[in-house]
Point group: C2
Chain length 151, copies 2
């Protein structure tokens, strides 16, 4: 048991910031995910796939991986589950016989069209704890941090 982990101010600051960052995301997700599940029967990951397809149109899994920042094997699982639920299809791709085009089914499109607006409203409500300027500042800092950490 070590009470003082670090005396270095830069380290203390960085660790403290990182903890707060993770907690904020955890807390927001913990508020949003149960609603997605209960109201629409989809997980956060499934919602992310549906949303990307809705906004950007059909695309192969590799493109979805880039958009959603998840591994290929993960996406295989998530899309398997969406396909089993009848919300997306893996269609043929004339350009590349490896890469099936993932596309929304009519039911999937209906679901995301119905689920997205209230979800967006909930996000807006939660972020409403910050002023517009604070949100932009937060976004800017996160972006800077994420881009710098990318490599």
């Amino acid at each position: 048991m070590r009470m003082t982990v670090t005396r270095d101010p830069a380290t203390r600051r960085a660790l403290s910031t990182f903890v707060k960052l993770r907690r904020a995301v955890n807390t927001l997700s913990a508020r949003l995910n149960p609603v997605l599940q209960k109201d629409h029967g989809v997980t956060e990951s499934q919602f992310g796939v549906l949303e990307a397809l809705w906004h950007l149109g059909p695309m192969p899994q590799a493109r979805l991986c880039e958009k959603l920042l998840v591994s290929g094997s993960n996406l295989t699982t998530v899309i398997d589950n969406l396909e089993r639920s009848g919300l997306v299809h893996r269609g043929e791709n004339p350009d590349d016989r490896r890469a099936h085009l993932v596309r929304l089914s009519p039911r999937g499109e209906a679901l995301i069209a119905r689920a997205f607006p209230p979800h967006a409203a909930r996000v807006t409500g939660l972020l409403g704890a910050l002023t517009a300027a604070e949100q932009q500042q937060l976004g800017r800092l996160c972006r800077k941090l994420g881009l710098a950490s990318q490599r």
Copy 2:
């Protein structure tokens, strides 16, 4: 396929901020977790438990749940795995026969004492993309957001 999801500026701003927040955390975790795994053979979750026990001493699982913001059933799994690896023990608790005290084993303590400093240094390095003032601002905004969303 819907190109314009929302015209409302408040909603656009909130969604954009939320995406950046999640991406930043994802990116940071993606940089940190493989190192924890490769250098010390523990996952991020396991590391979190070891760190909490190291900093705060032995405690029942319910306390760990609060500290780490995870569910009880999750913690049962994580601690099962740590116990199987010989890094923690579930000890008897004279005060409450339900709540076993989770404590570090000698090997667990050695591991966290060895793993923590380089991990902290890596976090500090990644957060170094922001100035000290920016980190504090980011932490403040996340804290405000997390607290407001808590309930």
